[in-house]
């Protein structure tokens, strides 16, 4: 008898745990729904500055902008507690595609819009500039490379450092994985991956993150890689000049260093944005937003 009772008690307690869990979840669910319904009521016009902004804006796209965009959204939502910016990370391509289809009000892109007609009817507003640094091992003597040399290295035509003024050693090409934003920006600027002849050599060591590129290059005296300038640690790797120009905040600003890309907010041309979406874009381009851009080791736009 006692055993039966204890088993029943255990079962009841166990049930209690489950109900407790679902009870806890319920209020959260309701609060979320309320938030969403509140979002449905749109505030009127720009005049309503006194009125608190409320609503949800669906955005999505590039993963390269994650660091800075998360910081921007966090600050914006802290300033406007009733406003929510959703950010789906699925790559620049999807960000642009879904902005065209209307799924996102704002798309995030780490590349400029294509001019082949497939991405017409959109406006890309740049808000940050990111330099792409070409990095080699610290002991590497090569100081400068130009676009042609880089292209030949990455397509496998140049395989030895002596061909570009270094010591006699085979080059280890380090690249990012397919569909990485950094990879496509780098490839576009130096003219890679346009056709079979300019495909990145298959034997290239492939890393899945900026950090992995830096680690791989720092451990391999014959390696060459490319990465976001904001993440370069000069105690680990050496940056190579591009066309004789050293990468720095200054050379990026005065446009003399050409290996760079911009981060964009993509919207529909001529469309009236919801107040929250408009306020968010204004915030990103404001002094406070641009300060966050600078804080995240990117260059602000002027």
């Amino acid at each position: 008898m006692k055993k039966v009772i204890s088993i029943l008690l255990v079962l009841i307690l166990g049930l209690g745990v489950f109900t407790a869990c679902s009870n806890e979840e319920d209020p959260a669910d309701t609060s979320e729904t309320t938030e969403a319904t509140e979002g449905g009521e749109t505030t009127t016009g720009d005049e309503g500055e006194d009125e608190a902004l409320s609503g949800t804006v669906k955005t999505g796209g590039s993963t390269s902008v994650e660091k800075v965009m998360t910081a921007l959204i966090y600050q914006f939502q802290a300033d406007n507690p009733d406003a929510t910016i959703e950010y789906e990370m699925n790559g620049s391509g999807d960000g642009i595609k879904n902005t065209i289809s209307g799924m996102y009000e704002i798309g995030h892109s780490s590349r400029d819009l294509k001019t082949d007609g497939t991405e017409d009817g959109l406006v890309a507003t740049p808000y940050a500039i990111d330099g792409i640094a070409v990095v080699v091992h610290q002991d590497n003597e090569v100081e400068s490379l130009n676009a042609d040399q880089l292209r030949d290295i990455y397509t496998g035509k140049i395989t030895n450092w002596s061909e570009v003024g270094g010591k006699d050693a085979p080059i280890t090409v380090v690249t990012r994985e397919a569909s990485s934003g950094t990879r496509s920006a780098f490839a576009e600027i130096i003219g890679l991956e346009e056709d079979d002849a300019t495909a990145i050599v298959a034997s290239a060591t492939t890393c899945d993150s900026t950090g992995a590129v830096q680690t791989t290059v720092s451990q391999n005296e014959n390696a060459i890689g490319y990465m976001s300038f904001s993440d370069v640690d000069t105690t680990k790797v050496k940056t190579v000049q591009f066309d004789g120009v050293e990468i720095s905040t200054e050379t990026l600003k005065d446009d003399s260093y050409k290996l760079k890309r911009e981060f964009y907010l993509v919207t529909k041309e001529g469309a009236t944005l919801s107040p929250v979406a408009q306020a968010f874009i204004d915030f990103v381009l404001s002094d406070a937003g641009q300060q966050l851009v600078t804080d995240n080791n990117l260059l602000p736009v002027d």
């Binding site: 790559g91 391509g93 994985e177 397919a178 569909s179 899945d208 390696a223």
Partner: protein, 299 residues
Amino acid sequence: MKDHSILRSARTKSAVELVMHILFIVCGLLAVIAVLFISIYMIASGGPAIAKIGVFKFLFGQIWNPEAGQFGILPFILSSIVATALSILIAVPIGVGAAIFLTYMAGKKTGGIFLFIVELLASIPSVVYGLLGAMLVAPMIFKLQTMLSLPQSGSLLSATIVLVIMILPTIISVSASSLQAVPKTYNDASLALGSSKIQSIFKVLLPAAKSGIIAGIVLGVGRAIGETMAVMMVAGNAAMMPTLLGPVRLLTVGISLEWAYSSGLHREALYGIGLVLFVFIMIINIVLNIILKKGGKKA
């Protein structure tokens, strides 16, 4: 007065029986449902991409270039097979040798400490093996590559060495327990017939423990083919046909490397790789089951 009614206790008893019965059925079903769900999900999400790309082009295509719409995973499949086969070839003699030492040569005390260390080895997270591989193994291979004037990079050899260390504990412990299960009388009989200790080990004990050792090997194959993290850190991950000293990308790495940024057909193709891997693992498990069943019948 205590309640001693047979009827009442029978009633509560049957209620408990029923509740527990249902509870156990639910528990059992959960596992089955999980497997079923995963199987259906893998086929449903990986199948269409393979069909779109074309089974032959997908499985036997030699070029993986998602940007250009080329989705050939033959390099990944071959790399996975070669890396697994090589690591098994190296790990089995060492592992079985260690198991023989553990069972017949080491004393009880030494054997115990030895087994404890082996089990410790088995429980080290794979990312730690990857770290060791990247810090210790890869630089040694770099030197070898420089000597042969090849570019320094992660390589099939580094990946194989890391895999060997990772699958050794499995092979050692499974082989040791199957050797220990061989009746002592076999050994006594063979020694009494005049065979030496070594003869007895190779001619009598090893054959008797064969099915257990094979099971250990198959388990090792399963672990090697499914390993991702450690391999990704040392293999160089280039999508090219495997060469011993060149970078390779295994099936598992093929998925995890490009997962984050992929979209559309590219992502579906990654599911396709998952399906191929899933089929590989299923085949290994079926083989394992057959071996274990055969072994069970003999004994």
